[in-house]
Assembly symmetry: C2
Homo-oligomer: 480 residues x 2
């Protein structure tokens, strides 16, 4: 594709995307196709001859677009709602065109240094001290993996060279998290060779926060039984209910017990920059590492996860490994990003973070996060005022956990099971195409979750979600 | 940024990028700044108020662009030269705008099914049987990590639940690769808790291919000493010299010894689709896994690495873990991509692979890969005909390893050390801004590497590289 062809197609695509962004609410938010529809509509072999960009864009619209679940839709309330904001999307376009590999400083000084600068900006906004150094990874799964690898590096002598197997003298390791912690922690301990058994899930309290008394006694019990405690993962904004673990108390225990403290603030960490919410990171200053994902609630297109760590030297000790073909000589010490991770290649992700932060300004980011939290509290107030629904968890941020109450049929028949009722409501509202909500289980009960995080979501959309939920509840009641 | 603002900036950026791509040869290929230049030119805090897109683009040009090493430059001959082709860049723009998370089928059916279709297309092109299932990851480091995690899952009972530590009965594991294998293999065994010690590097022959006699005797020796062999990593296109390990013979050994065979074909695998080069994957049909990176030599913007595996069930067994909030009910069985890996979140990467394959057509891709190999052979012929330079390795693909010969000064003084001579030549040609080559070490000697892989690179650029090398050689000779 020569530059003039590229120019023509890029302009065409710019218009298509601008139209799409203007009309994202007109698509069904959740794709309505059945499994296999797309695969069966596409050729079974790659084309032999070149095809036109026009034909690809036409096929994209005809075949692929009906199979897109629209994360840009203002009615997207599932999981954690996200936004690929305009400046972020444009930065990704530019980054793809530059196609630099930021493995070494030399292979892209701008990517390396902009990462340092933007992560320093973000660190200050979160109120973290300068003892934290930052690095960008793709996902929180990978950030947390590196944090726990560093904890393993610190706790297990020679693990880099000797590994874990066949070392009779090595005690069984233990990592602690709450029963509300994200599945990525469990995947990380599996990958690191610690085993699922090494993850001890501490019970949480009535508001889904890790019980520190239970943590302290679990550690004591494990030590007495010959386990080797390595690390604690505290969560600021759990996935189910967005609860906040008592970080400061957990940090005290970690200090006393010499354990690595990793904070999973992937979703909610950014809220710490909103006045009145600084408390959520109380105690984080003495943590060893913290992950926060601008691609979750800071309007940055997926993927961009940030790991802050007070011992980046340990991550380097775990992973730095420079073969001859990657050795460089620079006039001054430089940071080679390949040394801080398992992935050699790195995209120029800092560019989008830079453009997003400049486009909104810190006041603009704060205002939007605060507005999402206001909308969540508003929705929660409707739930609280309703006789048909009930709230199942506090609403510290922008997610509301609630469920429909079941009722005794007037005829005296059997009451519909509450879990079934809520499952049916979920399916019914999601099949309208107007909203997409997801669910979780809290205290063993099937629970609906409404997550606000998209910049296009306004009070009107939240109100419409509430109307739809009430309508579907009535339908289920009527139809029994 | 409202859609109309977005439209305006996107058009402006489309023009900027089209101009950039048209002029990529006018920039110095290797960034000429000194460390710290960019960081010190940027504010130390994020802006409080919103800034205009124009001001960002202006700062990008003024501050960041001088710190970009231009991977798009036709004179980029370092590492593995790559191309973010037009259709690939446009696909990334579209993918960023859609901002879908392909963790579950339901969260983006199109991303999930297009991944299946495009990987099936590519698999057939590579000549791999349908017993291989494919999955897209970000980098070969992550693909290989998953392959070795699956090997560990198969070989070590209950590793997922029990881990590796504190199990006295567990023998020490062993993974084999050649002394030419990429550093990502070593990083993977470290991360997996196997330890560097578990990686046994088998010597290679005069053409840098793994010696299978040495492999067989290493395995026998290890077994007799109580090690537990797990896997062999064979490379098709090593990073230093692009040598090809004897895959078929290694596959025989692996079958006999019941070892997992992983093939690292990240760079050169795509050459298997060029007539006459099918042999490079001889024996691969019985391998357990193979990685190939379309972002390396198939004109796809970074990042897109493909892992083909004959036991995707083992990767799922190692990693599948579905918390309640990610449970879905579909009308038919679906593939949830989060089950095949450590990363929960996944970008819509298949889109760019689809657009690249359709834009070029398979004939077009084959022709371009073949042309890069022709250019490399041409350059090698100049080296071979020269009295001042010598070739250090065969040229199976698009990389030439060579070095300047040293000489005895006519005055009878001390000869310049060959390594120093080549280092000086490397620095000299790279500082011209016209080309960027990198180096390696082969047989202990500092070796220059010229890698061809950019679509904009023509015979003229390769000829110019040769001229520059000769010129700088003369300068060094003259100046002593």
């Amino acid at each position: 594709m020569d530059p003039e062809e590229f120019r023509r197609h890029a302009h065409r695509l710019a218009d298509w995307i601008a139209d799409y962004l203007a009309n994202s609410s007109k698509y069904p938010v959740l794709a309505e196709i059945t499994p296999g529809t797309i695969a069966s509509a596409l050729p079974v072999e790659a084309p032999t001859h070149a095809e036109s960009f026009e034909s690809m864009l036409a096929d994209f619209e005809k075949i692929l677009l009906p199979g897109i679940t629209h994360w840009n839709h203002p009615g997207f309330f599932a999981y954690f709602a996200i936004t690929g904001s305009g400046p972020g999307v444009l930065a990704e376009f530019l980054s793809a065109a530059l196609n630099v590999q930021a493995m070494l400083w030399r292979t892209s000084p701008a990517a390396t240094e902009l990462e340092e600068v933007t992560l320093s900006w973000l660190r200050k906004l979160l109120g973290l001290p300068s003892t934290f150094d930052g690095v960008i990874y793709d996902t929180a799964s990978i950030s947390t993996l590196h944090a726990l690898a560093a904890a393993r590096e610190r706790a297990v002598p020679s693990v880099r060279s000797l590994g874990l197997a066949g070392r009779a003298a090595l005690p069984r390791p233990r990592v602690y998290c709450s029963d509300q912690t994200h599945s990525s922690i469990e995947k990380a301990v599996i990958l690191l060779g610690l085993g699922q058994q090494s993850l001890r899930k501490i019970p949480s309290d009535a508001e889904f926060r890790m019980r520190t008394d239970a943590l302290a006694s679990a550690i004591a019990e494990d030590r007495s039984e010959g386990w080797r405690p390595l690390a604690v993962v505290a969560t600021v904004g759990t996935t189910s209910s967005t609860s906040v673990d008592p970080v400061a108390q957990i940090a005290d225990i970690c200090r006393r017990e010499s354990l690595w403290l990793h904070i999973d603030a992937a979703y909610a960490g950014v809220a710490a920059m909103v006045p009145g919410y600084e408390w959520i990171l109380d105690g984080a200053a003495t943590a060893d590492s913290l992950v926060v994902n601008p691609h979750k609630w800071m309007f940055t297109p997926f993927d961009l996860s940030v790991l802050y760590c007070r011992h980046m030297d340990l991550i380097r000790a775990a992973f730095a490994l420079t073969p001859e073909y990657l050795k460089t000589v620079e006039p001054a010490p430089v940071r080679n990003l390949m040394d801080t991770g398992i992935q050699l290649g790195r995209r120029f992700r800092a560019l989008k973070l830079w453009m997003v932060m400049r486009h909104f300004g810190t006041d603009g980011i704060r205002a939007r996060i605060a507005e999402h939290m206001r909308l969540a509290r508003l929705f929660a107030s409707w739930v609280d005022a309703s006789t048909e629904f009930e709230r199942v968890a506090p609403v510290p941020f922008s997610v509301v956990c609630f469920r429909a109450r079941t009722w005794l049929p007037p005829s005296g028949g059997r009451a519909i099971d509450a879990d079934t009722l809520n499952e049916r409501i979920l399916e019914a509202v999601n099949s309208t195409g107007e909203i997409f909500i997801s669910h979780t289980r809290l205290n063993g009960c099937y629970t609906l979750r409404l997550a606000i995080g998209n910049l296009h979501t306004t009070e009107t959309h939240v109100r419409r979600a509430w109307e739809l939920l009430q309508e579907q509840m009535s339908t289920v009641r009527r139809e029994g």
